[in-house]
Symmetry: C2
Subunit: 471 residues, 2 copies
């Protein structure tokens, strides 16, 4: 039997610090599990977008802000490196998506990117997708593609189960994985790349009616998701495109950069993608009298999609179930996508100004940014107070342990670092200036969401920071 | 200014439940954020390994156990679907790796899989890797490869910074992403696939001495990691292979299935990969007298690798820094891999029996498995107590909220479900049998790590479960 002693780190947070020696130590560790994060140690290279790219319509605001502030870096046409701050925001966004996917009762899986050509030939999409599908051959000359979506693969998994009992339905499986699409014209940074992260959920129901219930449940989850992210969105009737199916809605973030044209009713908010209206200005689906409810043309960035697929794929791959009378029937499918890296960039696109990034609060890379005074300044005695403040915050609120960023670049003025922090859009910026040295120390607190700056005592500061929501 | 009201769910855990209507609700939500996880809703298809595959040396124990128990499913040669239980374990394993990578002060990034051929031609590995490199062409006939590792890409990122100040070093960047390698003979499930998840850390130092400090620090992190996972490992001097460099160690889990032959000293534990010894039985590096310290031949599964790369890549890609005297110098690099999906399978391979999976406790898909009595049995009055027990556990220990799995298949006997739960290797199995209905209810608790079964009161049960470590 294995006996391994786990001992806690000095930080008293359940970090499960383990000593390096082989002894079964019973005394507390003498080392901290982690230190606070320091700006001087961040890797945040600035990349200036070549002039003219924006005028040429290949770059946009979010792309420029993300490059200039060291969030992303171009790797090749339509591919980007996600640097540490973007990676942190992305992982937080994935947690939000996971939460909503759990709430609709779906389970997370991961299907490989390397996909057999046979599956795609069976569904007919090998040819239909054309040049958008990245195709390759392995060492045995076997044809493969890099999956841009996984209807074929997931239906094949379900079909392999044989005839399912109706009691096992609905089955809801999703993944959050890298997808590939050979875009004819990759542009706008993460908004239209050739390699991106997508959440794709696939559902299998026993009737069209229950498939519609599932459809509505997922649409509600999307509504909650965008509300959690504080993002206004437009839900429109969508095109079923190459995926196929009988009913489809798209979720768009309204933005000038958006590549989709949408008709939206000014009154009820409902709308349609202009692709689906064959050029005509449509009537609001809620009203019969066009003049009474004018549809406005807007631009949107498509960030989500819901499809009721019917039996299109279950028929091809023979995904059957037995109903309560024992009759063999085809499962009714749905598929539901969210462009995860696209949402990351689109949120920056719609929330930010030309100069400063603004994040949906819960996905900001760090929640609290702490700026001690400049070295060799009159206030330099407050420098050690910053590290102490970090400890006080994490001692009181363990959920903020990984959320503090200390700007230790004390060769820079406070003003220079506040400007930098605002560019990056951290929700809370705390400055320790000369008032931090008063008998009753006061901290300068910038609240990005409220747009306010105020001086607060440590008690007040802790109360405010303690209420930060971290997923 | 946007104002969004977040309200808490009835579960009182900080799940940030949001109501669906548009009102800024101030009353508590009327809906629970999530429900407990139920076995009847799990997607866990069993796939029986065709007979003969194991004799043919293409399948192994972990692969069979993972397939039969619905953890993975073959997708194509060397590719697998990760089903919900495997995905959960994988995400936990990634958390452990993240924690140790943070502790060495490294930052997480993500580099794309689609990699320009130019970079690989510059380093000379385009040809050197031969058929193992998946190559493809995009719609413009541009040559790309699917990155099996990212020395070229990461060095290019650093070099693009121009001449770095020595104060910015060391720089330590890692990623946990899907990698591709066209193995000539994919086999053993996740142990040797063509698409897998790897952690790769790249470090840039200002001297060979500091690069060695970094090297030792990462090796210590690997030691802690395997200790957290309760896995015995052998660290051996390794082959520098196609990656190149001056110093290398490999981490192996000793296993008969292992494809590597290792010489290990029985006394001090040090060893070498037989590949590096040119057929000769080596002398223990700690002793001069061979007879005094015999080296034993063992088989191992390679799960980690550390390389001191020197300036091999920084020279090719011109990754320079300026030393304190202002002189331009090449950065000293290291690279450090961990086969993440491989560790998942290897852990099962070395810990499990032929019939039952055994997990490193902290990565088990669920920590606690709860079995109520069979429906229409004498004990059926205890069925509702199971759901109540789940609530009691999560009310007391919020960190167990996502760790409970309730086996609601009440058409099955308790015995049948205990057998099933043991096959899956859940660390704690709690059975509500007839003694749960006594005046002082007793719960049957199976502890997989201790190998014990005992009857405990609810207070005792909560005390034991409360001490479960969850990352």
């Amino acid at each position: 039997m294995r006996v391994h002693q786990l001992i806690n780190c000095l930080c008293k947070r359940s970090c499960m610090f383990l000593p390096l020696d082989n002894t079964m130590a019973t005394q507390p560790a003498k080392q901290l599990c982690t230190q606070h994060h320091h700006v001087s140690k961040m890797f945040r290279p600035s990349y200036v977008l070549p002039k003219g790219m924006r005028q040429d319509g290949v770059a946009c605001k979010s792309q420029r802000l993300m490059m200039e502030n060291g969030l992303i870096r171009p790797a090749g046409p339509g591919t980007f490196h996600l640097l540490p701050l973007a990676q942190r925001a992305l992982e937080k966004l994935i947690k939000v998506v996971d939460l909503e996917m759990r709430r609709v009762g779906s389970h997370k899986i991961a299907m490989p990117s390397l996909t057999s050509s046979a599956l795609w030939k069976e569904s007919g999409r090998w040819d239909m997708m054309g040049a958008e599908l990245f195709k390759l051959k392995d060492r045995h000359k076997t044809e493969l593609c890099l999956g841009p979506t996984h209807e074929e693969a997931v239906t094949d998994i379900i079909a392999a189960e044989g005839i399912l009992s109706h009691k096992r339905l609905p089955i809801k499986l999703y993944q959050i994985t890298t997808k590939f699409r050979d875009e004819p014209r990759p542009r706008f940074g993460l908004l239209r790349g050739r390699e991106f992260i997508m959440k794709d959920l696939y559902t299998f129901d026993s009737s069209e009616a229950t498939a519609r219930d599932t459809y509505n449940m997922v649409c509600q989850a999307y509504t909650r998701l965008f509300r959690r992210l504080q993002l206004d969105f437009i839900k429109v009737v969508g095109d079923t495109g190459s995926i196929g199916g009988s009913l489809s809605h798209e979720y768009h973030l309204p933005a000038q950069t958006g590549e989709d044209e949408l008709f939206q009713c000014d009154k009820c908010g409902l709308g349609a993608n202009a692709e689906t209206t064959e050029g005509a200005r449509p009537v609001c689906p809620e009203r019969l009298d066009e003049t009474a409810c004018p549809m406005r043309l807007r631009s949107g960035i498509e960030v989500g999609h819901a499809f009721l697929l019917g039996t299109k794929y279950s028929q091809v791959f023979k995904a059957y179930f037995a109903d309560s009378a024992g009759n063999k029937q085809l499962t009714e499918m749905g598929c539901y996508g969210l462009g995860v890296t696209r949402i990351l960039a689109a949120a920056i696109e719609v929330l930010s100004s030309e100069d400063e990034i603004s994040w949906p609060q819960i996905i900001a890379p760090y929640q609290v940014y702490i700026i001690p005074p400049k070295g060799k300044s009159k206030e330099e005695a407050a420098i050690p107070l910053a590290e102490a403040l970090c400890n006080d915050i994490t001692d009181s609120f363990s959920h903020l342990q990984e959320e503090l960023l200390l700007d230790d670049r004390d060769h820079l003025t406070i003003g220079r670092r506040v400007t930098d922090a605002k560019k990056l859009g951290y929700p809370y910026i705390v400055v320790l200036g000369k008032r931090a040295l008063e008998d009753k120390p006061l901290y300068e607190l910038h609240d990005a969401q409220q747009g306010t700056t105020e001086y607060v005592s440590k008690t007040e500061l802790l109360e405010i920071l303690g209420s930060i929501t971290v997923l």
